[in-house]
């Protein structure tokens, strides 16, 4: 083991590793540039490296990018990556209260610890989790999607009807484009751009980022003032104390992250939303979520990095990628002679141990690089607000354009920006729209294929064990409190 560690600290591995982590931070911070894109860009470079350097580079990018996405989510209300969407809710509110650095310190601590817990699960219980993940069929995936959508009721800040309207809008948007089952273009009106559907990244940038710029521009304020008044310390110790205080939320969120990450096709973004909903519902102070509450930052940030460990589980054990990054990396694994399968830990023991060590050490580097990134972002925000606002708008526009090199996505971003702006004004929550766009295809496709497979019967949707567990969990999370109250009243009545 020591040989492997010493081997990892050679310059030919260390340099690409550090560069990968910096690149990940950079990509994560810029809206529109995703970790998947960064890994895809870097893959050709790995052909000239040995396997350890290649995996250090790839893992370094993916771990830092997810954390870095939370920085603009906290300071600017623009999630840098899709997995940072849920971090906006309480992170930005904390920033508005002058606690932006505490939110990011919490974020950094929980991303690091959550990521480490995810890797620990990958090392020790991956065969069990992989077998669990493979039990998921269309029926279970449908309920997983519905479970995610049901989080709307929790994140809607007491306005459930408007929350459901928002989630329906997201679902409606997800139906635009080619129907996966039949290949028929829906609601495309002959427009080639609409045929390929609405990408949720420009929608997310618009809903959160562009709408916030609109909001700032229509506020009576002195635009020449800096975005943050003074650079304060990054309170890592306080963040550690808060994490310790909410240790059960941390564990719960990380486990949710690993479990959802292990499901092929799910991933860190869904994990973050679900863990936020679960944490809010099970917290003693659930009503404080969404108002800049520390637990609301802790839950999604622990979950999204823990999910990364989870995504590797089915990839290693069965060769089934958990998300797009692992799909790209599977190709690289085969190139280096690593054959995914149940015997991978035996047949490629040394290489696997090397990968695990890289993953663990990467989290320590994440802590250092993340700290420096928060510090650097503070200096950027010392610039006058009028300059920062214009820079944000241009980054929103070019970031949306960069997804498909197409200005159609920019119009989508502006359209959703306007929706976000007006919905904010009438008290309609924005997060469920993103939830609907992300989960719409999962719910629709699995419902339809499930119905086709079961000859139109709904029975398999409710009798399969995992379906039942998911339904019961959903009922418990949504109505658990009410049910317990009724039971308590009945018991007291009998007495």
């Amino acid at each position: 083991m020591i040989d492997i560690i010493l081997n990892l600290f050679q310059l030919k591995i260390l340099i690409p590793w550090m560069l990968g982590m910096l690149f990940g931070l950079f990509v994560g911070c810029v809206p529109g540039l995703t970790a998947t894109m960064a890994v895809a860009l870097i893959i050709p470079l790995t052909y000239y490296m040995n396997s350890s350097a290649a995996f250090a580079l790839i893992l370094g990018i993916s771990f830092t990018a997810i954390f870095a996405g939370d920085i603009p989510a906290t300071f600017l209300r623009i999630p840098g990556t899709p997995a940072s969407g849920a971090a906006v809710l309480d992170g930005f509110e904390m920033y508005k209260k002058g606690k932006g650095n505490l939110a990011l310190a919490l974020d950094l601590v929980n991303s690091t610890l959550g990521g480490l817990l995810g890797i620990t699960c990958l090392i020790f219980i991956s065969p069990i989790l992989a077998n669990f993940a493979l039990k998921f069929t269309f029926f279970e995936y449908f309920w997983l999607g519905v479970f995610g959508l049901s989080m709307t009721a929790i994140i809607s800040k007491g306005n459930i009807i408007k929350g459901f309207i928002a989630v329906l809008i997201g679902l409606a948007v997800s139906t635009i484009g080619i129907d996966v089952t039949t290949g028929y273009p829906r609601f495309s009106f002959g427009n080639i751009n609409l045929t390929s559907g609405i990408s949720f990244i420009p929608a997310m940038i618009g809903l959160f980022g562009f709408s916030e710029v609109l909001n700032q521009m229509t506020k009576k304020q002195d635009f020449s003032l800096p975005t943050i008044e003074k650079i304060t310390k990054i309170p890592i110790i306080e963040a550690l104390k808060i994490t310790f205080k909410y240790v059960f939320t941390f564990i719960k969120s990380s486990i949710v992250g690993v479990l959802i990450g292990a499901l092929p096709g799910a991933g860190a973004d869904i994990a973050a939303w679900v863990s936020y909903g679960v944490a809010k519902k099970t917290s003693k102070n659930g009503d404080k979520f969404g108002t800049g509450y520390e637990e609301g930052v802790l839950a999604p940030t622990a979950a999204n990095n823990a999910a990364l460990g989870g995504t590797w589980i089915p990839a290693f054990i069965f060769g089934v990628p958990g998300d797009t990054i692992t799909a790209i990396v599977l190709g690289a694994m085969l190139m280096y002679g690593l054959k995914p399968g149940p015997r991978i830990f035996i047949e490629s023991g040394v290489q696997m141990r090397t990968i695990f060590l890289i993953a663990i050490i990467s989290h320590f580097f994440l802590f250092i690089f993340g700290y420096l990134a928060i510090k650097a972002s503070n200096y950027l925000l010392k610039l006058p607000r009028n300059i920062v606002l214009v820079a944000i708008v241009i980054f929103c526009i070019i970031g949306s354009y960069s997804i498909n090199n197409n200005f159609f996505d920019v119009y989508v971003m502006i359209f959703f920006g306007l929706i976000g702006f007006f919905f904010d004004k009438i008290g309609t929550p924005l997060a469920p729209i993103i939830l609907g766009i992300i989960l719409g295809p999962m719910v629709e496709n699995n419902l339809r294929v499930g119905l086709i497979q079961s000859d139109g019967s709904l029975l398999p949707f409710v009798v399969r064990p995992i379906c039942l567990i998911l339904i019961l969990m959903m009922i418990f999370i949504l109505f658990g409190g009410n049910i317990l109250n009724i039971i308590n009243k009945l018991i007291k009545g009998k007495k």
Partner: protein
């Protein structure tokens, strides 16, 4: 927010939702049926019809609730009294909103002709001037923003930035 105004907005939202729901249901009826071995299976219109129906139900709820509450509220609390149209239109922040959207659309149109560099400089400079940045600061900041985007998107992420049809050979 004024309760009456809030309900007026809800009423408008409800009407939009009902219209959207009716449109989704009617439009999706045009989608082809999904028939396999003589059986009709859930086709492309299946999910949009469900969503359309839910839009109508929730929209109907909002409209009904808003109408009931609006009818209960006293007439002298008319929501329209809160509007002073000329005051709103002359408000600098309101103007910022429209100028910003207008400039963004113009930027997206001209970027195809004069390319990223010139159009972004103009867009950034005009926006900064609108937000009361000094000339020299606006020029330097605009150039720096363009440089940053060029470095991040073009040099590092290999994303081609629009050159503009005027400069294309």
């Amino acid at each position: 927010m004024n309760e009456k105004l809030d309900k007026v907005y809800n009423l408008i939202l409800g009407v939009i939702l009902i219209s959207l729901g009716i449109f989704m249901i009617l439009y999706s009826q045009k989608f082809p049926k999904f028939i396999s071995l003589g059986k009709i299976l859930p086709g492309p219109s299946f999910f949009p019809t469900i969503i359309g129906s839910l839009f109508i139900i929730l929209g109907g709820y909002l409209v009904t609730e808003s109408l009931i509450i609006l009818s209960k509220l006293s007439k002298n609390e008319k929501a329209t009294k809160n509007f002073n149209f000329s005051k709103i239109v002359n408000d600098a922040t309101f103007q910022n909103f429209f100028i910003f959207i207008f400039l963004s659309i113009i930027y997206l149109i001209i970027i195809n002709y004069i390319g990223f560099y010139i159009s972004t400089f103009l867009y950034s400079f005009i926006l900064m001037k609108r937000l009361k940045v000094k000339n020299i600061t606006a020029i330097i900041s605009s150039i720096l923003i363009i440089f940053l985007i060029w470095a991040i998107f073009y040099k590092i992420a290999f994303i081609p930035l629009p050159i503009g049809s005027l400069f294309r050979r």
